[in-house]
């Protein structure tokens, strides 16, 4: 049995050598940038010093993890990270599909291209710049919005002092930034759907709405599942750039907007301890791993064909 697999493996490579050769750069990329650095995980259990480096620094057990749990905020930030990411993922998926379907239904080619480009544009804008936009729109003293409100005689809003605003605003920004990118993925999947299905449906008298719900969405399901699963795989990795640049060190907003990444960054900026930072990263990775195993397990139960593994 074993030899058959080995033989099978090598003959497989030999048979498809061109394909594997094309795959080689990708494989190397992942080995060098994803698998090799994984060894660095040991840093989470070490008291890092420069002379010893990563390999020879002394072990210190789970001491590095203590900081995260002793902060008294571990549960709160984990919860925030999870909640924000669930909301982000749900909104992102919903709006991406919606946009992709709408774009695919637009017949004016010129308008289609323009609309798509404009939606894609925010993808290229870094959060640093977005934070500057937000600041100039909403700042209390001379922001655009408040100047308008003052001109019509209203009471200016102090957005940076009210956590409730951000619970809405952050998902909106997230969708604004990512929907162009997401819709392209779904659009590609829609383009791959056999046009004959639609023609047959048209002949049978289906309207546009029926075609979408009965043909497009069911056929998109595998794509949706794969993309959602990949999103779930990062669910405890907060969108650090976004939170850090837009919220920064605003203590008033922190209970509502602090995520694992920002907490760790803020706490360790002064002490510069690699071990403790690795411990927090390790914690995130383990939780992500567990979550994706569970979700994938559920998918496998419900819809075996579409599970990732």
């Amino acid at each position: 049995m074993k030899s058959r697999i080995n033989g099978g493996f090598f003959s497989e490579i030999y048979k498809n050598k061109v394909l594997y050769l094309m795959f080689l750069p990708v494989a190397l990329y992942f080995i060098i940038f994803a698998y090799v650095p994984m060894g660095g995980i040991i840093l989470a259990f070490k008291e890092f010093n420069i002379r010893g480096g990563i390999l020879f620094s002394p072990w210190n057990g789970i001491e590095n993890f203590r900081f995260f749990f002793a902060s008294g905020k571990a549960w709160q930030v984990t919860k925030n990270t999870l909640e924000y990411n669930v909301v982000f993922l749900a909104c992102y998926t919903f709006f991406s599909i919606l946009t992709a379907i709408m774009i695919s239904e637009i017949s004016n080619k010129w308008f289609k291209k323009i609309a798509q480009s404009f939606m894609f544009l925010p993808y290229f804008i870094s959060w640093v710049v977005v934070a500057a936009f937000i600041y100039n729109f909403f700042n209390y003293d001379y922001g655009l919005v408040n100047t308008l409100i003052k001109n019509v005689g209203g009471q200016p809003i102090d957005i940076y002092a009210e956590p409730a605003n951000w619970v809405i605003l952050l998902p909106v920004l997230y969708v604004w930034k990512w929907v162009g990118f997401g819709s392209v993925l779904y659009l590609a999947a829609i383009m791959g759907i056999d046009q004959e299905c639609y023609e047959a449906a048209t002949i049978d008298g289906a309207n546009m709405f029926q075609k979408i719900t009965k043909i497009t969405l069911p056929l998109l399901r595998p794509t949706i599942i794969v993309l959602v699963l990949m999103g779930v795989g990062r669910i405890l990795r907060g969108e650090f750039d976004m939170f850090y640049n837009i919220i920064g060190n605003n203590g008033i907003l922190m209970d509502a907007t602090d995520i694992i990444d920002t907490l760790v960054f803020r706490s360790l900026m002064g002490t510069q301890d690699f071990g403790m930072a690795s411990a927090a990263g390790f914690y995130q990775s383990v939780l992500c791993f567990v979550i994706i195993l569970i979700v994938n397990g559920v998918v496998r139960k419900v819809d075996n064909e579409n599970a990732l593994f």
């Binding site: 890092f48 010093n49 420069i50 002379r51 010893g52 480096g53 001491e63 203590r66 900081f67 002793a70 902060s71 008294g72 905020k73 934070a131 937000i134 600041y135 700042n139 209390y140 003293d141 922001g143 102090d158 940076y160 002092a161 837009i246 920064g248 060190n249 605003n250 203590g251 008033i252 922190m254 602090d258 907490l263 803020r266 706490s267 360790l268 900026m269 002064g270 002490t271 510069q272 301890d273 690699f274 403790m276």
Partner: protein, 535 residues
């Protein structure tokens, strides 16, 4: 705490502060130490001093890191520097820069990476304590300094070596000339007169001025602070002026901890901010600041504002500029162009004092994996204490970056401060002996007076050079730091709804983040530190 932990918090004041340095000018005679390495200078031939037992036969290249932007004129200066170093000690030097924006992330990485490196700029604000604890720096022994850095050894107050001790060991070479500066604040004297506000001579006189600006200048915010540097300053100026000059013990090193002491107390008794003895001082300042915030004297967007008060001031958007004695020089230069009048008032404690800078504010450390610590020390000795070197790294190349007029430094014809490829002080050599440098020509009388006044206002502070050893309390220190950011900074800005409640929550969070453990450890360490300094 007063400036936040954010690295750039320290960065920018220091950049600016350094524009002009402290003492300048007195000619220091070139003493016999200049002949230490050379047997006969007169003959013009260079010989190694075999008596000192230093073997300099091999040509050595050393590499160092400074903080800041690499100046356009740096390559020329380095070329000149290398010419001199090669001639004097058979050594060449390469210098790299860690940019201000990257300091926080890159400083630790540069040291941890396998890069060939001999020395790096350090200071109590630039991770000296943290990196020394990680074993990044070579331990410096007194006899090494005496042997390889005789000029610097002679020029440096013996106190400086004690200040740099961590757990009884020294890991850096401190500067011989710490900056002399106190907190200052600049106001628009012309507007004050225009609105008939009583004269402002100290921080406590300032409220009517703020009120007048708020009332009469709709386009100006009386106080506009940024999120990194000035954010806590209104509070601390107020706190110091109404009570004592409280400093957080971790202020210079890693941010905030909630452990404070009165800088004028020679014993340096430690308090928790929320201790009954001190909390009322804090609360009184907090009430006042909250009042100002509610009335709109302080900008409401401080947490997201990246523009420093000094820049807002200079662009006419705000009526107050926070700064220190050193960086206030910029104000005079620029304000004259605008046709405004400014007045600068110091931000001192009720007693009229401000804690003195320590020697370990600026310095360099030898990296523990350096292959040439001896040669590095010799080169740095020349750079720090030899006037020719000193002038070169500080002001650039004579004739190109500066000329000497009446014994003062001036710009050459056709070069303006904007086009100068090597502006003074910005190259990052802040550890050089500033007493050897010549004065810039453009200091006006008002500014010189300010500097003179500062000399009298600075007062010794028991912990100015204290570098906490946090190896056993890393967890707690990290957590306290973040508690201060989340619960104390809003108090500093007056952004909270209820002062008393905010202090209660702050107290609770400090305690749950392990305050007591840190306090106990710090009491122990500060006692040791005081004993060490007494020795």
């Amino acid at each position: 705490m007063r400036k936040k932990k954010s690295l750039c918090a320290y960065a920018i004041p220091i950049i600016l502060s350094l524009l002009i340095l402290s003492g300048c000018g007195e000619e220091v005679p070139n003493t016999d130490i200049a002949t230490f390495y050379k047997d006969s200078e007169a003959s013009g031939t260079f010989q190694y001093n075999t008596k000192a037992g230093i073997d300099m036969s091999a040509k050595v290249k050393i590499t160092g890191y400074l903080i800041g932007e690499r100046l356009p004129g740096m390559n020329d200066v380095l070329e000149k520097l290398n010419e001199k170093l090669l001639n004097d000690i058979n050594t060449t030097m390469e210098i790299n820069y860690i940019r201000w924006g990257d300091l926080q992330s890159k400083y630790a990485l540069v040291l941890a990476s396998g890069e060939d490196l001999d020395w790096i700029f350090t200071g109590n604000w630039a991770y000296y304590g943290q990196e020394a604890a990680k074993g990044a720096f070579l331990e410096i022994k007194q006899d090494m300094v005496r042997k390889y850095m005789p000029r610097h050894y002679k020029a440096t107050n013996p106190q400086a070596w004690k200040e740099g001790l961590i757990g009884g060991k020294l890991f850096m070479i401190p500067t011989s000339t710490p900056d002399i500066k106190v907190n200052e604040v600049a106001i628009r004297e012309d507007l004050r007169q225009k609105y008939n506000v009583p004269e402002v001579n100290k921080w406590l006189d300032i409220e009517p001025y703020l009120e007048a600006i708020k009332k009469n200048e709709p386009d100006m915010i009386p106080i506009s602070v940024d999120s990194a540097i000035d954010i806590t300053r209104p509070f601390f100026y107020q706190l110091a002026a109404t009570s004592k000059s409280y400093f957080d013990l971790f202020f210079a090193t890693s941010g905030g901890s909630g452990i404070v002491s009165d800088t004028d107390d020679p014993e340096g008794k430690l308090f928790k901010i929320t201790d009954p003895e001190v909390i009322n001082d804090y609360k009184n300042a907090a009430y006042k600041i909250k009042d100002w915030y509610d009335k709109g004297y302080i900008n409401k967007n401080a947490f997201s504002n990246k523009v420093r008060s000094m820049d807002s001031f200079l662009s006419g958007k705000s009526s107050i500029a926070y700064g220190n004695t050193v960086d206030m020089q910029n104000i005079f230069n620029k304000v004259n162009e605008q046709g405004w009048k400014v007045k600068i008032i110091p931000g001192l404690s009720k007693k009229g004092t401000y804690p003195q800078d320590s020697h370990i504010n600026n310095g360099f450390a030898i990296v523990s994996k350096s292959k040439n610590p001896e040669r590095t020390m010799m080169a740095m000795d020349l750079i720090m204490e030899e006037p020719e070197y000193n002038q070169l790294v500080y002001y650039g190349i004579e004739g190109k970056n500066y000329v000497i007029k009446n014994g003062k430094i001036a710009l050459p014809d056709g070069v303006t401060s904007e086009t100068n490829t090597f502006p003074p002080d910005l190259a990052g050599f802040w550890f050089v002996n500033k007493n050897l440098l010549k004065c810039p020509e453009n200091w006006n009388d008002e500014y010189i007076q300010l500097r003179e006044a500062a000399k009298k206002q600075i007062a010794p502070y028991a912990y100015s050079a204290f570098v906490p050893d946090i190896s056993n309390i890393k967890t707690e220190v990290s957590n306290l730091n973040q508690v201060v950011v989340q619960y104390f900074n809003p108090i500093n800005l007056g952004m909270i709804k209820d002062v008393d409640e905010a202090f209660d929550v702050f107290d609770e969070r400090l305690t749950s983040a392990g305050f007591d453990k840190v306090m106990e450890e710090m009491k122990h360490q500060t006692d040791e530190y005081k004993k060490e300094l007494m020795k």
